[in-house]
């Protein structure tokens, strides 16, 4: 399964060093792309540099600021699909199933349990 850098759109095969250490452009955020969604890579490549940067910023805003930007993050685009800045598609069925937005695929790839992060945010909110 390939991974695509959100910043520059470069595709990497599963297990590539770049996914573990970050893309050669410096990006640490990757889309995880299932085979059937491969046409998506074309869409992302067509976006301008500014749009790609905006998407990257928006993703960090949406998934919360507890995330360590220094670590490589792989996003599951099946749940939240960002077509371009300001255009979102949400897969409610999967979101309700509590599937995490971000996966750890194998050793060295970073996972963020979004449900846990939301729980923490909520607990902090409750304590206020």
């Amino acid at each position: 399964m390939p991974h695509q850098c959100v910043k520059c759109g470069t595709l990497y095969d599963d297990g590539s060093n770049e996914i573990l250490q970050g893309c050669k452009c410096g990006g640490k955020l990757f889309f995880y792309i299932k085979k059937q969604s491969l046409e998506r890579k074309e869409e992302l490549i067509r976006l301008t540099k500014k749009e790609k940067e905006q998407i990257e910023e928006d993703i960090y805003d949406i998934i919360g600021n507890q995330i360590d930007k220094e670590k490589t993050i792989v996003l599951d685009i099946e749940t939240i699909n960002i077509l371009k800045p300001g255009k979102y598609e949400i897969d409610l069925v999967n979101l309700f199933k509590k599937q995490p937005l971000i996966y750890k695929l194998e050793e060295g790839k970073y996972m963020i349990d979004i449900i846990e992060s939301f729980k923490k945010m909520r607990d902090a909110h409750d304590e206020k």
């Binding site: 805003d61 979102y88 309700f96 909520r122």
Partner: protein
């Protein structure tokens, strides 16, 4: 010695003021169905103050809003709950829709981003709810993916549901259509804006949550 006394005293007070678990009553539904209008109406009726701002542009509520300890009374019965108003749940959020409603591009894109985060938040909070009021716009087709997914998930989680068909003050409103889409639930037609049929709504709330 003073230390032990202080500890005992603080334990005593902690026990006195220990919070009881409150019923969490969530308002869920698609954007612009009237969740915040209904929340405001409930708060106005029982607390004398409003909860949040409403707007004709969809996705006005983008953060979870909580109003604590609302006690409603009807026919000698009492029900106390924390009211949780949630952002509208949608499958597609497009900033261009907000531009059509009159927002500037930057504002529209921020609203789209916050609305997306709001959808995730609403879904994450669902497990915390004891009772859910699903607010649907009775002038719109009830057979949508959003409505079916929300109601199906509530059913699967065994969360008691009160289905509200809002906006019955409008000619196009069709309560029967909402009822036939979700026959397993009691549907109460109301106008949150004008306060129509709210007595029936509160009665039904006692039946579901009481």
């Amino acid at each position: 010695m003073t230390g032990i006394f202080k500890k005992l005293l603080s334990k005593f007070f902690k026990n006195i003021f220990k919070k009881k678990k409150k019923v969490k009553l969530g308002l869920y539904g698609p954007p612009n169905g009237g969740k915040t209008t209904l929340a405001n109406k409930i708060c106005k009726d029982w607390l004398g103050e409003e909860m949040g701002t409403v707007s004709n542009i969809s996705h006005e509520t983008r953060e979870i809003q909580i109003k604590e300890e609302i006690t409603i009374k009807s026919k000698g019965k009492e029900l106390t709950f924390n009211l949780v108003d949630t952002p509208g749940i949608a499958t597609k959020i497009d900033y261009e829709e907000f531009i059509k409603e009159g927002l500037k591009e930057k504002e529209a894109k921020t609203r789209a981003k916050e609305a997306t985060k709001g959808v995730i938040d609403s879904i994450k909070w669902l497990d915390d709810m004891d009772v859910v009021i699903v607010v649907l716009d009775a002038t719109k087709d009830p057979y949508t993916q959003v409505n079916i997914t929300i109601i199906g998930n509530l059913e699967a989680r065994d969360i008691p549901v009160l289905l509200v068909a809002n906006k019955i003050d409008l000619k196009k409103a069709d309560i029967k259509k909402v009822q036939s889409a979700f026959p397993q639930y009691e549907v109460i037609g109301i106008s949150a804006k004008f306060g129509n049929n709210l007595d029936d709504f509160y009665e039904a709330l006692f039946r579901v949550a009481g």
